[in-house]
């Protein structure tokens, strides 16, 4: 005799499932106000378990204790509830074994609930949010403890199951709380997260893949980029609702660390609040540092950016597009895509860019060079090397793309080292000379897709009229644009970074290195080489072959910290408390590095701009040249 309480408990779970399903309806209706983006949801949902258990888990487990907490609380609550729901079958309710199983699941969930509570107690860490999160453990405890006690009653005293009314009442309270948490609180991430994982905008990222290229914009579309939440695709709106405010993005954001007016978590929450027409006061995490206050209001059809809207414009321009937040996000949210979409709206539709960026964009439009410098002067730093210029009639093996760093005397030193190495290895190479304009990276990151596409068309036309085997560049930003972003516009070549190419030459025995006894060298991963292009090993192999002592900074590889030079940040007059490169060089000094090895003109300029005493900054090409021995 299972008694009525057992059946009621099962019915309660079914009722709760119904309430949760109903709470999803307004959410789905809201997402459908976004732009259409057809997704095969059946196939998408079929991939969710794998995406969740592999990709999401990899990100979750990087924070100590997060994975066990989530497994216990989500696994226990779900398993207990599903098992309890099965209690509508009378035969099951008769079985003590069944109730024992239900009890074990709920007890497991209570353990998880304790871990949930422990996250914010005794003190809430700055990167976590408060608000509804603060009573989430109470609701979980009421539901799970209630469930466990109902099970206990049915195991221990099935004949007196009427006693279970008391825990049943607890479950009703906890269940109501959980429904509120899902419908209007952070637990909405359970439903929106699954939807987003199924309908992700970059499915290539799952299973250890990579997808970092910005997508071309149709310049004839009525609205360019994003001005109101309704301009985002529906699945992107779902991704904002999927944010669980864990603050990993905030902890890793270089702009946030430097006190610039950006907090990726506050940004995503601002977007979600705008789409939900909620007030900014509903956000209980840390704000973007020093960002001037905004009206903090929004709706699906009103502007997102502006002092009278939700997000202050300064927030947008502080981003270095380093993708650190994207890398850390356990919900795989695409912060950088959102920022670039918003920048596109500001730049293309309103012309609202920072004055320094406006000047740079004007020069790019009018002269094809961000500094307005003559294209013929780009190779001035290589004048002594006598590098041949590739004409339409000639042919070469390697086309060396110089990039805008070449105008600087410092970076020209790196390029000279690279040219000397290519000569030593007997590589046939040439440059484009004054036929090389800007590749458009800066314009694209600043949201000026029109200027980017103009420059890209010019570059693609030039490169398609030249004969070469592959392109080598020492500028990871140019590498990213040429290799990943031009193919969508009709430019496909083999493009490699100079460290990859030098590594090949060393492995093939065309360059012989003798590791030198230098003070310890730390390699700084450029964002656009590492996170954007997955090249972590070749530079390290080269360094190991050229220097005897190497050390790793705490943040390296995929977790590396940006130098502050990307995304148009340096031309955007960003207000800051600290300089990002100062923080980064501090990290190098902490591990006792005397030399920081770099592989990017941006990193070179930013890190070398740090006042002394600081480690010396050397490009890998320079270190390799110093270690090369005659064959």
């Amino acid at each position: 005799m299972g008694g009525r309480t057992g059946l009621l408990a099962s019915g309660l779970v079914w009722g709760m499932a119904g309430a949760l399903a109903a709470s999803a309806v307004p959410m789905v209706r809201r997402w459908r106000k976004g732009k259409a983006s057809p997704k095969d949801m059946i196939r998408g949902l079929a991939t969710v378990p794998q995406r969740y258990l592999v990709d999401v888990h990899h990100a979750v487990e990087r924070r100590k204790g997060a994975a066990p907490m989530h497994a216990l609380v989500a696994g226990g609550t779900l398993a207990g509830s599903v098992a309890l729901a099965a209690g509508v079958i009378p035969a099951l309710r008769e079985s003590r074994l069944y109730w024992g199983g239900v009890g074990v699941f709920f007890v497991t969930a209570i353990g998880g609930t304790y871990l949930v509570w422990k996250r914010r107690n005794p003190r809430k860490p700055s990167w976590l949010s408060g608000g509804r999160f603060l009573w989430l453990p109470d609701a979980l405890l009421a539901w799970n403890l209630g469930g466990a006690l109902v099970a206990l009653v049915h195991v221990a005293i099935p004949e007196k199951s009427g006693v279970a009314w008391v825990p049943l009442a607890m479950m009703v309270g906890g269940g109501a709380g959980l429904v509120v948490q899902v419908a209007r609180g952070p637990m909405r991430h359970a439903f929106s997260g699954v939807t987003w994982l199924a309908a992700h905008s970059r499915p290539e990222r799952f299973g250890g893949g990579r997808s970092t290229d910005l997508r071309p914009l149709d310049l004839a579309a009525p609205t360019l980029g994003t001005l109101v939440p309704g301009d985002f695709a529906w699945n992107i709106l779902a991704s904002f609702d999927a944010c669980i405010e864990c603050g990993r993005c905030e902890q890793h954001c270089p702009a946030f660390a430097a006190g610039q007016r950006l907090n990726p978590k506050a940004l995503i929450q601002g977007l979600a609040l705008s789409a939900r027409s909620e007030d900014v006061s509903a956000y209980t995490g840390s704000p973007a540092p020093h960002a001037p206050p905004t009206a903090g209001k929004g709706s699906m059809t009103s502007a997102i950016i502006g002092a009278d809207a939700m997000i202050h414009p300064d927030t947008l321009w502080a981003c270095t597009t380093c993708r650190s937040c994207v890398e850390q996000c356990p919900m795989m949210i695409e912060h950088v895509d959102a920022i670039v979409d918003l920048r596109r709206g500001q730049t293309l539709m309103l012309g609202e860019v920072r004055p320094g960026a406006a000047d740079a964009l004007r020069r790019l439009r009018d002269t094809g060079e961000s500094g307005g410098r003559p294209l013929s002067a780009r190779a001035d730093g290589l004048a002594g090397e006598n590098v041949p210029v590739l004409t339409e009639e000639d042919e070469t093996d390697v086309l060396l793309w110089l990039g805008d760093g070449a105008y600087e005397l410092r970076y020209a030193r790196t390029l000279r080292a690279l040219v000397k190495l290519l000569r030593l290895a007997g590589v046939k190479f040439a440059i484009l000379g004054e036929a090389e304009p800007d590749c458009g990276d800066l314009a694209r990151r600043l949201g000026d897709e029109a200027t980017f596409q103009g420059l890209a068309t010019e570059v693609i036309g030039t490169l398609n009229s030249r004969r070469f085997q592959r392109i080598v560049t020492a500028d990871p930003h140019a590498l990213n644009v040429l290799k990943n972003e031009y193919p969508a516009l009709g430019g496909k070549w083999e493009v490699v970074h100079h460290t990859t190419f030098l590594d090949e030459l060393v492995s093939a025995g065309r360059l012989k290195l003798d590791a030198r006894d230098l003070p310890s060298v730390a390699y700084h991963d450029p964002c656009y080489l590492g996170r954007y292009n997955g090249e972590f090993d070749a530079p390290r192999r080269l360094l190991a072959a050229a220097c005897k002592t190497t050390v790793e900074m705490e943040r390296h590889g995929k977790q590396s910290m940006c130098c502050g030079g990307g995304g148009g940040n340096p031309v955007s007059d960003v207000d800051a408390e600290l300089r990002i490169p100062d923080i980064r060089m501090g990290q190098a000094s902490e591990v006792g590095a005397a030399i920081v090895a770099v592989g990017c003109p941006g990193c070179t300029a930013m890190l070398e701009g740090v006042p002394e005493p600081r480690p010396e900054v050397k490009d890998i090409a320079e270190l390799v040249l110093e270690a090369v021995v005659p064959a």
Binding site: G351, A358, D366, T367, P374, L375
Partner: protein, 254 residues
């Protein structure tokens, strides 16, 4: 107010690529700051793609006078005077860059156009000033070494804008793609050889302001709250001492 902005076929001096002229971009910005409500761009010559870029700065209607390149002054003056550029009357203002960036632009065009229209010209205007009387424009003239001089000019007038003006309007691609470039064929009377050669007149000695100033003229005199007539006499005497004005009794030059 209604304004005509003169556009030239500019070339960027560094890259040699067609590009909008800085003074003309600022002319659009100055027109906005002056509260101009209707604006049209005028280019003596055939339409070219680079002109749409001015649309990005806010000049979304541009009229090109094909065939007007042979004598731009005649073509432009004809259109400004007789053409119904605006539905509700003649323009109040013609704005131009103080300096063009086309290969053979002389910088004289705004002066010649003002002469042809019979309008006054205010040159090197970098910003508007507080407007006090209707029918007049109070403007800030940007001079060498950062000096700013208030000037007033009667409407309608020609105004030139220097590259040093700060009124650069934001560039908006969405406006550029909506820019409407019209082309109209105009016929201008060919310039006669005599006109081309310019006018001949006797040599006139230029006043030697600088060399006069270098001779110690005492640096003038300090007058506190003087009688206006007395002050005027002192100024005239000072200018005579510098050699800028002819000496008293001497007949002014023709």
């Amino acid at each position: 107010m209604k304004a005509v902005i003169l556009l030239s076929a500019g070339i960027d001096p560094v890259s040699g690529r067609p590009a909008p002229v800085p003074g003309e971009i600022r002319a659009i910005g100055l027109a906005h700051e002056l509260g101009v409500t209707q604006m049209i761009g005028l280019h003596a010559g055939p339409a070219s793609p680079v002109l749409t870029e001015y649309g990005g700065y806010g000049l979304t209607h541009i009229l090109c006078l094909k065939g007007g390149g042979a004598d731009p002054v005649q073509a432009l003056a004809g259109v400004v005077k007789t053409h119904a550029l605006f539905a509700d009357g003649e323009p109040d203002l013609v704005l131009a860059a103080a300096r063009g960036r086309g290969g053979s632009d002389t910088g004289l065009l705004p002066y010649q156009l003002a002469q042809a229209l019979g309008w006054p010209i205010a040159t090197d205007i970098g910003a508007p000033m507080e407007q006090t009387s209707p029918g007049q424009l109070a403007l800030a003239q940007f001079r060498a070494r950062g000096a700013v001089k208030p000037v007033s000019v009667t409407l309608p007038c020609v105004v030139t804008v220097p590259e040093t003006a700060r009124c650069v309007p934001a560039f908006v691609f969405a406006r550029q793609r909506e820019t409407w470039v019209d082309e109209e064929v105009v016929t201008v009377h060919p310039v006669s050889a005599e006109e081309e050669a310019g006018t001949l007149r006797p040599y006139r000695r230029r006043p030697k302001l600088i060399s006069g100033a270098s001779k110690d003229s005492g640096g003038g005199q300090l007058m506190v709250d003087p009688d206006p007539h007395e002050a005027a006499r002192a100024i005239v005497a000072h200018l005579r001492a510098l050699g800028v004005l002819p000496n008293a009794g001497q007949a002014p030059e023709a």
